[in-house]
Protein backbone atom coordinates (compact mmCIF):
# COMPACT_ATOMS: atom_id res chain seq x y z
CA UNK A 1 0.00 0.00 0.00
CA UNK A 2 1.32 3.40 -1.00
CA UNK A 3 2.10 5.76 1.82
CA UNK A 4 0.29 9.09 1.48
CA UNK A 5 2.27 11.86 3.06
CA UNK A 6 1.01 15.26 4.11
CA UNK A 7 3.05 16.75 1.28
CA UNK A 8 1.33 14.59 -1.39
CA UNK A 9 -2.06 15.50 0.01
CA UNK A 10 -1.37 19.22 -0.04
CA UNK A 11 0.25 18.93 -3.49
CA UNK A 12 -2.91 17.41 -4.93
CA UNK A 13 -5.53 19.42 -3.04
CA UNK A 14 -3.84 22.69 -3.92
CA UNK A 15 -2.88 21.48 -7.41
CA UNK A 16 -3.84 24.81 -8.97
CA UNK A 17 -1.12 26.51 -6.94
CA UNK A 18 1.50 23.77 -6.93
CA UNK A 19 1.41 23.40 -10.71
CA UNK A 20 1.54 27.15 -11.28
CA UNK A 21 4.70 28.04 -13.21
CA UNK A 22 6.36 31.31 -14.19
CA UNK A 23 5.13 30.66 -17.74
CA UNK A 24 1.54 30.51 -16.42
CA UNK A 25 2.05 33.85 -14.69
CA UNK A 26 3.51 35.56 -17.77
CA UNK A 27 0.77 34.23 -20.05
CA UNK A 28 -2.00 35.26 -17.65
CA UNK A 29 -0.43 38.71 -17.57
CA UNK A 30 -0.41 38.78 -21.40
CA UNK A 31 -4.08 37.72 -21.36
CA UNK A 32 -4.88 40.58 -18.98
CA UNK A 33 -2.99 43.05 -21.20
CA UNK A 34 -5.00 41.90 -24.24
CA UNK A 35 -8.25 42.32 -22.32
CA UNK A 36 -7.11 45.78 -21.16
CA UNK A 37 -6.20 46.83 -24.71
CA UNK A 38 -9.54 45.61 -26.01
CA UNK A 39 -11.86 46.71 -23.21
CA UNK A 40 -10.19 49.91 -22.00
CA UNK A 41 -8.31 51.14 -25.07
CA UNK A 42 -10.82 50.00 -27.70
CA UNK A 43 -8.22 48.12 -29.81
CA UNK A 44 -10.27 45.48 -31.68
CA UNK A 45 -12.28 44.69 -28.50
CA UNK A 46 -14.50 42.10 -30.18
CA UNK A 47 -11.46 39.90 -30.75
CA UNK A 48 -8.92 40.88 -28.13
CA UNK A 49 -11.31 40.46 -25.16
CA UNK A 50 -12.22 36.81 -25.91
CA UNK A 51 -8.61 36.06 -26.99
CA UNK A 52 -7.33 37.49 -23.70
CA UNK A 53 -9.82 35.52 -21.64
CA UNK A 54 -9.12 32.33 -23.58
CA UNK A 55 -5.41 32.87 -22.89
CA UNK A 56 -6.06 33.16 -19.13
CA UNK A 57 -8.24 30.02 -19.12
CA UNK A 58 -5.69 27.94 -21.01
CA UNK A 59 -2.82 28.91 -18.75
CA UNK A 60 -4.43 28.12 -15.42
CA UNK A 61 -2.97 24.75 -14.46
CA UNK A 62 -5.01 21.52 -14.37
CA UNK A 63 -8.13 23.05 -15.90
CA UNK A 64 -7.83 20.53 -18.78
CA UNK A 65 -9.93 22.81 -20.97
CA UNK A 66 -7.73 22.52 -24.02
CA UNK A 67 -5.00 20.11 -25.18
CA UNK A 68 -4.94 20.66 -28.94
CA UNK A 69 -3.18 21.68 -31.14
CA UNK A 70 -0.23 20.29 -29.15
CA UNK A 71 0.88 16.71 -29.74
CA UNK A 72 1.03 13.99 -27.14
CA UNK A 73 -2.66 13.65 -26.27
CA UNK A 74 -5.29 11.06 -27.13
CA UNK A 75 -8.91 11.82 -26.33
CA UNK A 76 -10.72 9.43 -24.08
CA UNK A 77 -13.79 8.64 -26.20
CA UNK A 78 -15.75 5.51 -25.38
CA UNK A 79 -14.31 3.42 -28.20
CA UNK A 80 -10.84 4.49 -27.21
CA UNK A 81 -11.70 3.63 -23.63
CA UNK A 82 -12.59 0.12 -24.74
CA UNK A 83 -9.33 -0.14 -26.65
CA UNK A 84 -7.55 1.18 -23.60
CA UNK A 85 -9.07 -1.48 -21.42
CA UNK A 86 -7.89 -4.06 -23.93
CA UNK A 87 -4.40 -2.66 -23.51
CA UNK A 88 -4.30 -1.16 -27.01
CA UNK A 89 -4.21 2.50 -25.95
CA UNK A 90 -2.62 4.90 -26.40
CA UNK A 91 -1.59 4.35 -30.00
CA UNK A 92 1.15 6.94 -29.77
CA UNK A 93 3.91 6.04 -27.40
CA UNK A 94 4.04 8.38 -24.46
CA UNK A 95 0.69 10.02 -25.31
CA UNK A 96 -1.59 10.89 -22.41
CA UNK A 97 -5.21 9.76 -22.56
CA UNK A 98 -7.31 12.77 -21.57
CA UNK A 99 -10.95 13.81 -21.53
CA UNK A 100 -11.84 16.29 -24.26
CA UNK A 101 -12.08 19.80 -22.77
CA UNK A 102 -14.75 22.25 -23.89
CA UNK A 103 -12.17 24.32 -25.73
CA UNK A 104 -10.90 21.17 -27.45
CA UNK A 105 -14.46 20.69 -28.70
CA UNK A 106 -14.60 24.26 -30.04
CA UNK A 107 -11.12 23.95 -31.57
CA UNK A 108 -11.99 20.73 -33.38
CA UNK A 109 -15.38 22.08 -34.42
CA UNK A 110 -14.24 25.31 -35.99
CA UNK A 111 -10.52 25.95 -36.06
CA UNK A 112 -8.95 22.62 -37.00
CA UNK A 113 -11.29 22.36 -40.00
CA UNK A 114 -11.17 26.16 -40.74
CA UNK A 115 -14.95 26.49 -40.35
CA UNK A 116 -14.99 29.56 -38.06
CA UNK A 117 -12.96 31.87 -40.33
CA UNK A 118 -15.22 30.89 -43.24
CA UNK A 119 -18.41 31.60 -41.27
CA UNK A 120 -16.90 34.95 -40.38
CA UNK A 121 -16.26 35.61 -44.05
CA UNK A 122 -19.98 35.21 -44.82
CA UNK A 123 -20.60 38.00 -42.30
CA UNK A 124 -17.80 40.17 -43.71
CA UNK A 125 -19.16 39.70 -47.23
CA UNK A 126 -22.64 40.70 -46.03
CA UNK A 127 -21.21 43.85 -44.42
CA UNK A 128 -19.08 44.98 -47.37
CA UNK A 129 -20.28 47.42 -49.99
CA UNK A 130 -18.18 46.93 -53.12
CA UNK A 131 -19.87 49.99 -54.69
CA UNK A 132 -16.85 52.34 -54.34
CA UNK A 133 -14.65 49.69 -56.00
CA UNK A 134 -17.08 49.17 -58.87
CA UNK A 135 -17.30 52.92 -59.42
CA UNK A 136 -13.57 53.03 -60.14
CA UNK A 137 -12.53 49.46 -60.99
CA UNK A 138 -8.95 50.30 -61.97
CA UNK A 139 -8.09 50.79 -58.29
CA UNK A 140 -8.42 47.01 -57.98
CA UNK A 141 -4.79 46.91 -59.13
CA UNK A 142 -3.88 48.70 -55.89
CA UNK A 143 -5.54 45.93 -53.90
CA UNK A 144 -3.00 43.67 -55.61
CA UNK A 145 -0.04 46.01 -55.00
CA UNK A 146 -0.90 46.04 -51.30
CA UNK A 147 -0.21 42.32 -51.09
CA UNK A 148 3.47 42.59 -51.97
CA UNK A 149 4.34 43.02 -48.31
CA UNK A 150 3.28 39.40 -47.87
CA UNK A 151 5.90 38.21 -50.34
CA UNK A 152 8.58 40.48 -48.91
CA UNK A 153 7.93 39.02 -45.46
CA UNK A 154 7.89 35.50 -46.84
CA UNK A 155 11.38 35.99 -48.24
CA UNK A 156 12.60 37.60 -45.03
CA UNK A 157 11.19 34.79 -42.89
CA UNK A 158 12.83 32.19 -45.12
CA UNK A 159 16.12 34.10 -44.99
CA UNK A 160 16.01 34.22 -41.19
CA UNK A 161 15.55 30.48 -41.07
CA UNK A 162 11.86 29.77 -40.47
CA UNK A 163 10.52 26.56 -42.00
CA UNK A 164 8.76 27.08 -45.33
CA UNK A 165 5.22 26.50 -44.01
CA UNK A 166 5.93 28.64 -40.94
CA UNK A 167 7.19 31.44 -43.18
CA UNK A 168 3.99 31.34 -45.24
CA UNK A 169 1.82 31.56 -42.11
CA UNK A 170 3.87 34.51 -40.82
CA UNK A 171 3.85 36.32 -44.17
CA UNK A 172 0.07 36.19 -44.37
CA UNK A 173 -0.07 38.59 -41.39
CA UNK A 174 0.78 41.16 -44.08
CA UNK A 175 -2.69 40.66 -45.50
CA UNK A 176 -3.83 42.49 -42.37
CA UNK A 177 -6.70 40.09 -42.35
CA UNK A 178 -7.42 38.11 -39.17
CA UNK A 179 -9.68 35.38 -40.56
CA UNK A 180 -7.35 34.73 -43.52
CA UNK A 181 -4.34 34.51 -41.18
CA UNK A 182 -6.19 32.06 -38.95
CA UNK A 183 -7.36 30.04 -41.95
CA UNK A 184 -3.86 29.67 -43.41
CA UNK A 185 -2.20 28.98 -40.06
CA UNK A 186 -4.71 26.36 -38.94
CA UNK A 187 -4.24 24.68 -42.31
CA UNK A 188 -0.44 24.64 -42.36
CA UNK A 189 0.91 25.17 -38.85
CA UNK A 190 -1.71 25.12 -36.05
CA UNK A 191 0.99 25.37 -33.37
CA UNK A 192 1.60 29.00 -34.40
CA UNK A 193 -2.09 29.93 -34.28
CA UNK A 194 -1.81 31.91 -31.03
CA UNK A 195 1.13 34.19 -31.87
CA UNK A 196 0.08 34.72 -35.49
CA UNK A 197 -3.53 35.60 -34.77
CA UNK A 198 -2.59 37.89 -31.89
CA UNK A 199 0.02 39.60 -34.10
CA UNK A 200 -2.51 39.94 -36.95
CA UNK A 201 -5.27 41.43 -34.78
CA UNK A 202 -2.89 43.64 -32.80
CA UNK A 203 -1.43 45.13 -35.95
CA UNK A 204 -4.89 45.53 -37.49
CA UNK A 205 -5.91 47.61 -34.52
CA UNK A 206 -2.67 49.59 -34.78
CA UNK A 207 -3.16 50.44 -38.48
CA UNK A 208 -4.04 54.07 -37.61
CA UNK A 209 -0.67 54.36 -35.85
CA UNK A 210 1.52 52.24 -38.14
CA UNK A 211 0.40 53.47 -41.56
CA UNK A 212 0.61 57.30 -41.40
CA UNK A 213 4.40 57.56 -40.86
CA UNK A 214 5.05 55.06 -43.68
CA UNK A 215 2.65 56.92 -45.97
CA UNK A 216 4.32 60.24 -45.23
CA UNK A 217 7.76 58.75 -45.73
CA UNK A 218 6.79 57.46 -49.17
CA UNK A 219 5.12 60.64 -50.48
CA UNK A 220 5.92 64.34 -50.91
CA UNK A 221 3.60 66.98 -49.43
CA UNK A 222 2.60 67.93 -52.97
CA UNK A 223 1.55 64.38 -53.72
CA UNK A 224 -0.49 64.15 -50.51
CA UNK A 225 -2.26 67.43 -51.34
CA UNK A 226 -3.51 66.19 -54.71
CA UNK A 227 -7.31 66.47 -54.82
CA UNK A 228 -9.25 63.57 -56.31
CA UNK A 229 -12.63 64.60 -57.61
CA UNK A 230 -15.71 62.47 -57.18
CA UNK A 231 -16.69 63.14 -60.79
CA UNK A 232 -14.32 60.39 -61.91
CA UNK A 233 -16.56 57.84 -60.20
CA UNK A 234 -19.20 56.38 -62.49
CA UNK A 235 -22.46 55.27 -60.85
CA UNK A 236 -23.05 51.53 -60.80
CA UNK A 237 -26.35 49.77 -61.24
CA UNK A 238 -27.75 47.28 -58.74
CA UNK A 239 -27.49 44.61 -61.44
CA UNK A 240 -23.70 45.15 -61.56
CA UNK A 241 -23.50 44.85 -57.78
CA UNK A 242 -25.48 41.59 -57.89
CA UNK A 243 -23.39 40.12 -60.69
CA UNK A 244 -20.07 41.14 -59.11
CA UNK A 245 -19.87 38.44 -56.38
CA UNK A 246 -20.90 35.74 -58.84
CA UNK A 247 -18.34 36.79 -61.45
CA UNK A 248 -15.55 37.18 -58.86
CA UNK A 249 -16.34 33.74 -57.41
CA UNK A 250 -16.20 32.03 -60.80
CA UNK A 251 -13.10 33.86 -62.08
CA UNK A 252 -11.02 33.65 -58.89
CA UNK A 253 -11.90 30.04 -58.21
CA UNK A 254 -10.97 29.07 -61.73
CA UNK A 255 -7.59 30.70 -61.03
CA UNK A 256 -7.19 29.22 -57.52
CA UNK A 257 -9.75 26.47 -56.84
CA UNK A 258 -8.30 25.64 -53.42
CA UNK A 259 -9.30 29.10 -52.18
CA UNK A 260 -12.93 28.08 -52.58
CA UNK A 261 -13.69 28.13 -48.87
CA UNK A 262 -12.41 31.69 -48.36
CA UNK A 263 -13.51 33.40 -51.56
CA UNK A 264 -16.71 31.37 -51.83
CA UNK A 265 -17.94 32.38 -48.38
CA UNK A 266 -16.87 36.04 -48.75
CA UNK A 267 -18.69 36.40 -52.05
CA UNK A 268 -21.70 34.37 -50.89
CA UNK A 269 -22.16 36.81 -48.01
CA UNK A 270 -21.91 39.73 -50.43
CA UNK A 271 -24.38 38.15 -52.84
CA UNK A 272 -26.89 37.76 -50.00
CA UNK A 273 -26.51 41.50 -49.32
CA UNK A 274 -26.85 42.66 -52.91
CA UNK A 275 -29.57 40.34 -54.21
CA UNK A 276 -32.06 42.13 -52.00
CA UNK A 277 -34.30 39.10 -51.49
CA UNK A 278 -33.02 37.66 -48.21
CA UNK A 279 -32.94 40.49 -45.70
CA UNK A 280 -33.28 38.12 -42.74
CA UNK A 281 -30.31 36.06 -43.87
CA UNK A 282 -28.21 39.20 -44.34
CA UNK A 283 -29.12 40.32 -40.85
CA UNK A 284 -28.23 36.89 -39.45
CA UNK A 285 -24.94 36.80 -41.36
CA UNK A 286 -23.75 40.25 -40.28
CA UNK A 287 -25.03 40.02 -36.71
CA UNK A 288 -25.77 36.65 -35.12
CA UNK A 289 -23.44 34.44 -37.19
CA UNK A 290 -20.58 36.97 -37.20
CA UNK A 291 -20.95 37.65 -33.46
CA UNK A 292 -21.19 34.04 -32.33
CA UNK A 293 -18.33 32.99 -34.58
CA UNK A 294 -16.17 35.89 -33.40
CA UNK A 295 -16.81 34.91 -29.79
CA UNK A 296 -15.91 31.23 -30.25
CA UNK A 297 -13.03 32.01 -32.61
CA UNK A 298 -11.48 34.53 -30.22
CA UNK A 299 -11.87 32.35 -27.14
CA UNK A 300 -10.42 29.27 -28.84
CA UNK A 301 -7.57 31.09 -30.54
CA UNK A 302 -6.71 32.70 -27.21
CA UNK A 303 -6.70 29.28 -25.60
CA UNK A 304 -4.01 28.08 -28.00
CA UNK A 305 -1.65 30.66 -26.46
CA UNK A 306 -0.01 28.41 -23.93
CA UNK A 307 3.33 29.37 -22.41
CA UNK A 308 5.29 26.60 -24.06
CA UNK A 309 4.22 27.80 -27.55
CA UNK A 310 4.01 31.53 -26.99
CA UNK A 311 7.02 32.30 -24.84
CA UNK A 312 9.64 31.53 -27.46
CA UNK A 313 12.00 33.55 -29.62
CA UNK A 314 9.84 32.44 -32.54
CA UNK A 315 6.95 34.57 -31.25
CA UNK A 316 9.16 37.65 -31.07
CA UNK A 317 10.25 36.97 -34.64
CA UNK A 318 6.61 36.63 -35.73
CA UNK A 319 5.73 40.00 -34.22
CA UNK A 320 8.76 41.68 -35.82
CA UNK A 321 8.07 40.16 -39.23
CA UNK A 322 4.35 40.95 -39.00
CA UNK A 323 5.24 44.58 -38.41
CA UNK A 324 7.53 44.57 -41.45
CA UNK A 325 4.75 42.94 -43.49
CA UNK A 326 2.24 45.70 -42.75
CA UNK A 327 4.76 48.51 -43.31
CA UNK A 328 5.77 46.78 -46.56
CA UNK A 329 2.15 46.51 -47.71
CA UNK A 330 1.61 50.20 -47.06
CA UNK A 331 4.76 51.26 -48.92
CA UNK A 332 4.13 48.95 -51.87
CA UNK A 333 0.55 50.22 -52.11
CA UNK A 334 1.68 53.85 -52.22
CA UNK A 335 4.37 53.12 -54.82
CA UNK A 336 1.84 51.06 -56.80
CA UNK A 337 -0.38 54.14 -56.99
CA UNK A 338 2.56 56.27 -58.13
CA UNK A 339 3.38 53.71 -60.79
CA UNK A 340 -0.23 53.79 -61.94
CA UNK A 341 -0.01 57.56 -62.29
CA UNK A 342 2.91 57.16 -64.70
CA UNK A 343 0.71 55.25 -67.14
CA UNK A 344 -2.65 56.88 -66.57
CA UNK A 345 -4.14 60.18 -67.74
CA UNK A 346 -6.48 60.39 -64.77
CA UNK A 347 -4.12 60.87 -61.80
CA UNK A 348 -4.84 59.56 -58.33
CA UNK A 349 -3.58 60.56 -54.91
CA UNK A 350 -0.91 57.95 -54.00
CA UNK A 351 -2.16 57.88 -50.39
CA UNK A 352 -5.13 55.75 -51.41
CA UNK A 353 -2.68 53.02 -52.45
CA UNK A 354 -1.94 52.41 -48.77
CA UNK A 355 -5.52 51.20 -48.33
CA UNK A 356 -4.87 48.12 -50.45
CA UNK A 357 -4.80 45.96 -47.34
CA UNK A 358 -7.64 44.12 -45.71
CA UNK A 359 -8.00 46.23 -42.55
CA UNK A 360 -11.43 47.57 -43.44
CA UNK A 361 -12.44 50.36 -43.10
CA UNK A 362 -9.59 51.54 -40.84
CA UNK A 363 -7.09 51.81 -43.64
CA UNK A 364 -9.42 53.90 -45.83
CA UNK A 365 -10.03 56.20 -42.87
CA UNK A 366 -6.28 56.60 -42.44
CA UNK A 367 -5.93 57.67 -46.09
CA UNK A 368 -8.77 60.19 -45.61
CA UNK A 369 -7.13 61.56 -42.46
CA UNK A 370 -3.60 61.89 -43.86
CA UNK A 371 -4.89 63.43 -47.11
CA UNK A 372 -7.13 65.83 -45.23
CA UNK A 373 -4.24 66.91 -43.00
CA UNK A 374 -2.18 67.78 -46.07
CA UNK A 375 -5.03 69.64 -47.73
CA UNK A 376 -8.37 70.26 -45.99
CA UNK A 377 -10.11 70.34 -49.39
CA UNK A 378 -9.02 66.76 -49.99
CA UNK A 379 -11.67 64.09 -49.29
CA UNK A 380 -10.20 60.71 -50.17
CA UNK A 381 -12.49 58.46 -48.12
CA UNK A 382 -14.67 56.96 -50.86
CA UNK A 383 -11.73 56.53 -53.26
CA UNK A 384 -9.78 54.81 -50.48
CA UNK A 385 -12.80 52.62 -49.68
CA UNK A 386 -12.67 51.24 -53.22
CA UNK A 387 -9.00 50.34 -52.77
CA UNK A 388 -9.70 48.95 -49.29
CA UNK A 389 -12.42 46.57 -50.50
CA UNK A 390 -10.17 45.45 -53.34
CA UNK A 391 -7.52 44.80 -50.67
CA UNK A 392 -9.97 42.43 -49.01
CA UNK A 393 -10.42 40.52 -52.24
CA UNK A 394 -6.67 40.74 -52.88
CA UNK A 395 -5.70 39.19 -49.55
CA UNK A 396 -8.15 36.32 -49.97
CA UNK A 397 -6.96 35.76 -53.53
CA UNK A 398 -3.30 35.82 -52.44
CA UNK A 399 -4.05 33.28 -49.72
CA UNK A 400 -5.91 31.12 -52.25
CA UNK A 401 -2.99 31.25 -54.68
CA UNK A 402 -0.60 30.31 -51.86
CA UNK A 403 -2.76 27.32 -50.91
CA UNK A 404 -2.83 26.26 -54.56
CA UNK A 405 0.97 26.53 -54.91
CA UNK A 406 1.64 24.69 -51.64
CA UNK A 407 -0.85 21.97 -52.63
CA UNK A 408 0.85 21.59 -56.01
CA UNK A 409 4.32 21.42 -54.42
CA UNK A 410 3.16 18.86 -51.86
CA UNK A 411 1.62 16.76 -54.63
CA UNK A 412 4.97 16.83 -56.40
CA UNK A 413 6.59 15.48 -53.24
CA UNK A 414 8.48 18.65 -52.25
CA UNK A 415 9.22 18.67 -48.50
CA UNK A 416 7.98 21.98 -47.09
CA UNK A 417 8.73 21.22 -43.47
CA UNK A 418 12.34 22.31 -43.74
Amino acid sequence: MAVITNNDFLYNVFGGFTHFTWQSAVMILIGCILIYLGAAKDYEPLLLVPIGFGCILANLPLTELIHVPRDGYVFNHSIQEALGEAGLMPFVEGARVVNEGILDVLYNAGIANELFPCLLFIGIGAMTDFGPLLQNPRVMLLGGAGQFGIFLTLMLALAIGYEKLEAICIAIIGACDGPTSIFITSMFNPALLGPISVAAYSYMSLVPLIQPPVMKLCTTKKEREFIMSYEMLTPVTQRTKILFPIVVTIVTLLIAPSGGALMGTLMFGNFLRECGAVGRLVQAAENEIANITTLFLGLTVGATMTGEVFLTAKTLGIFALGFIAICGDTAFGVFGAKLMNLFSKQKINPLIGASGISAFPMSARVAQKVGNEANPQNYLLMHAMGVNTSGQIGSVLTASVMIAIIGALQTMGVDLTI
Binding site: Y230, P361, A364, N372, Q377, L381, M382
Partner: protein, 70 residues
Protein backbone atom coordinates in the same frame (compact mmCIF):
# COMPACT_ATOMS: atom_id res chain seq x y z
CA UNK B 1 -20.32 83.87 -54.06
CA UNK B 2 -19.17 80.30 -53.35
CA UNK B 3 -21.17 77.14 -52.82
CA UNK B 4 -20.17 74.64 -50.14
CA UNK B 5 -21.15 71.29 -51.63
CA UNK B 6 -21.11 67.95 -49.83
CA UNK B 7 -17.64 66.51 -50.55
CA UNK B 8 -19.04 62.96 -50.80
CA UNK B 9 -22.21 60.98 -50.20
CA UNK B 10 -23.13 60.68 -46.53
CA UNK B 11 -25.33 61.97 -43.74
CA UNK B 12 -25.09 65.60 -42.64
CA UNK B 13 -24.55 65.45 -38.88
CA UNK B 14 -24.41 69.17 -38.16
CA UNK B 15 -23.94 72.59 -39.70
CA UNK B 16 -21.32 74.21 -37.51
CA UNK B 17 -21.80 77.87 -38.55
CA UNK B 18 -24.70 80.34 -38.60
CA UNK B 19 -25.92 82.70 -41.26
CA UNK B 20 -23.82 85.86 -41.01
CA UNK B 21 -20.69 84.14 -39.64
CA UNK B 22 -17.44 85.07 -41.30
CA UNK B 23 -15.32 82.10 -42.31
CA UNK B 24 -11.85 81.73 -43.76
CA UNK B 25 -10.77 79.18 -46.37
CA UNK B 26 -10.26 75.75 -44.71
CA UNK B 27 -12.32 76.62 -41.61
CA UNK B 28 -14.63 73.72 -40.60
CA UNK B 29 -18.23 74.62 -41.45
CA UNK B 30 -20.16 71.33 -41.22
CA UNK B 31 -19.80 67.69 -40.15
CA UNK B 32 -20.66 64.76 -42.38
CA UNK B 33 -20.82 61.07 -41.57
CA UNK B 34 -19.75 58.61 -44.25
CA UNK B 35 -18.79 54.97 -43.74
CA UNK B 36 -19.22 55.45 -39.96
CA UNK B 37 -16.54 58.14 -40.00
CA UNK B 38 -17.21 61.75 -39.06
CA UNK B 39 -15.65 64.12 -41.56
CA UNK B 40 -15.35 67.87 -41.26
CA UNK B 41 -16.41 69.88 -44.29
CA UNK B 42 -14.06 72.83 -44.78
CA UNK B 43 -14.88 76.19 -46.36
CA UNK B 44 -13.57 76.30 -49.95
CA UNK B 45 -12.97 80.10 -49.76
CA UNK B 46 -13.06 83.12 -47.45
CA UNK B 47 -16.52 84.65 -47.03
CA UNK B 48 -19.63 85.26 -45.00
CA UNK B 49 -22.31 82.57 -44.62
CA UNK B 50 -25.20 83.83 -46.77
CA UNK B 51 -27.62 80.93 -46.66
CA UNK B 52 -27.77 77.45 -45.15
CA UNK B 53 -29.53 75.12 -47.55
CA UNK B 54 -29.26 71.67 -45.97
CA UNK B 55 -30.55 70.41 -42.64
CA UNK B 56 -28.75 68.23 -40.14
CA UNK B 57 -29.84 64.60 -40.51
CA UNK B 58 -30.28 64.78 -44.28
CA UNK B 59 -28.62 62.31 -46.63
CA UNK B 60 -26.53 64.33 -49.03
CA UNK B 61 -24.21 63.81 -52.01
CA UNK B 62 -21.81 66.03 -53.99
CA UNK B 63 -24.70 67.57 -55.96
CA UNK B 64 -26.18 69.01 -52.73
CA UNK B 65 -25.25 72.56 -51.70
CA UNK B 66 -24.93 72.70 -47.90
CA UNK B 67 -24.52 76.49 -47.74
CA UNK B 68 -23.57 79.49 -49.79
CA UNK B 69 -20.82 81.98 -48.92
CA UNK B 70 -20.67 85.57 -50.12
Amino acid sequence: MANVNAPMAGKLISVDVKVGDTVKKNDPVATLEAMKMQIKVFAPADGKVAEIKAEAGANIDPSVVIMTLE
